[in-house]
Subunit: 304 residues, 2 copies
Amino acid sequence: MDLRTLETLRAVRSQGGVTAAAAVLHLTPSAVSQQLAGLTAEMGVPLTERVGRGLRLTPAGTALADAAVDVAVAVERARAACQGHRDSPVGTVRVSAFQSAAQLVFPRLLDAVAGWDGVTLECADEDVALADFPDLTDRFDVVVAHRPDGAADWPPGVRVVPLFREPLDVAVSPGHRLAGRAEISPEELADEAWITVREGFPVAPVLAAVAARSGAAPRIAHRINDFTVATAMVAAGHGISLLPRHTTPAFPGVRLLRLTGVPAGRRVEALLRPDRAERRVVARVVGVLTELAAEIDHRAGRGV
Amino acid sequence: MDLRTLETLRAVRSQGGVTAAAAVLHLTPSAVSQQLAGLTAEMGVPLTERVGRGLRLTPAGTALADAAVDVAVAVERARAACQGHRDSPVGTVRVSAFQSAAQLVFPRLLDAVAGWDGVTLECADEDVALADFPDLTDRFDVVVAHRPDGAADWPPGVRVVPLFREPLDVAVSPGHRLAGRAEISPEELADEAWITVREGFPVAPVLAAVAARSGAAPRIAHRINDFTVATAMVAAGHGISLLPRHTTPAFPGVRLLRLTGVPAGRRVEALLRPDRAERRVVARVVGVLTELAAEIDHRAGRGV
DNA sequence: AGGTCCATGTAGCCAGTCTGCAAGGACAGT
DNA sequence: ACTGTCCTTGCAGACTGGCTACATGGACCT
């Protein structure tokens, strides 16, 4: 019954297998398997069961993994209680963000942390499908994620810190027939060629909702995940796109038209594993993140 | 940051030193010292400080030890969550009780547990001064302790399960001038020679309270901790004593007279460390203990 | 000043755990 | 139906980490 072993069990659950868990934990599958075997022997109850060529946790294993979260939280709380008697929190914080938020946030975050002694920030851009964001919390302390309006909540077990809401606008090229307009309604977009993200990625459902208002299925010409690329393609007149108002890169000539009649936006949030959230450094970094978010919100006139 | 290391820190705090903690943990002082050094290095804060030739926890160390209790509780809760998916709780439970309770409780407890597969009960009689009972919880899962009426509560951090209250009666020999009486008031005992327990032991303050009612300081002839010995001496006419009604050994001719006008009694309670209390076997044993206690209470007509 | 007790270093041993490799199943495609 | 691939698991070997035994250095007491 070791802290590392419990951590391993949780990784096996969240990653859904020995090999994947081993990758996250920087171990070999053999080591993970042996830890599981040892833990099972100690508990006297089977914790895992084979399913196909993979592995799944039994009810007992799930119960133990759930309880292991509380253990990890208690441990980090203990660490924090100790660090509280120290001048300032220190350590390394790993932060991931999806591309557009990364561009907006990472530079300022690094600026803010530059003056903190003993604090190292490791940034990484990770843009994944909506359902895969929570899993990133195994590899990062803070995961900046986004979620379209109306999407389901994040699964329980992950701590969510709201950062800001960002409206999605319709981006058109300077030469487009609607380029002179400031606002646009979904009905006027029925025949447009769309540039949108890959299936399953966070803003896709919003386009579906907009299209539903126009009556017809949207005509999707290209699937581009990187908003910078998408913006360049819009600028060149290869289609229109639904782009976030604040984080869309300034690109000469691209016009952003406000959508009327349908709430189109996404929520940007920080995702943390509860135990990681207890670390004082992590909490401090999240604090800076929320400050930055408030700035963005404010500068944007609190969105639409 | 290991579970064993945190356990060590707690032992150092509760035992008040490296050597004592090592004894409780079945380790050498050197091992304990090294664990402390490692933990201190990891935390980056001094956790202990020298005081005289001994050792004391710093505020940071105390905070960590406090938090470590929650960790231990979470761990045992995890273990219990897992055992819940098993047919029945198993393991070894170490129980201590002071002499008279041991005599009353241990045989029946062992009877009750005899039928449980996989459960081993290790009994030990430990009669210590009032203030030392909580420390026993480091060495035993369940500590049956007693505490006179009106005594201070047990310190925080120890879990208390009430078992029963036991009135204290005045024991006299058959030839004593009061032997025919059923009740007695403190005032009538002013000139008696008392046989009582050693200073600091649980029923001592009750005698002081009784004597206070009689006006004069009690004349203490002998200090005997073992109630069986005390009873034998009372029977032989060497003094009178304040003895618990239910657990006083049946001794030919000794009369128990009820005290009037002053509440004289002791509370018998089970003391547990919070993490130990989470173990399902332990909880089950405590359950049997409380049942036995209810029987005793009932058979005694709920005391006075 | 000597004796005793306590905490703390140091050397060496031992155990637990990880890596690397091999084997056994299970699914998918030919 | 068979082969190939993927995943988990078992086994031998290396290694890191922790513990014991012993020695050292203070602090209290007589």
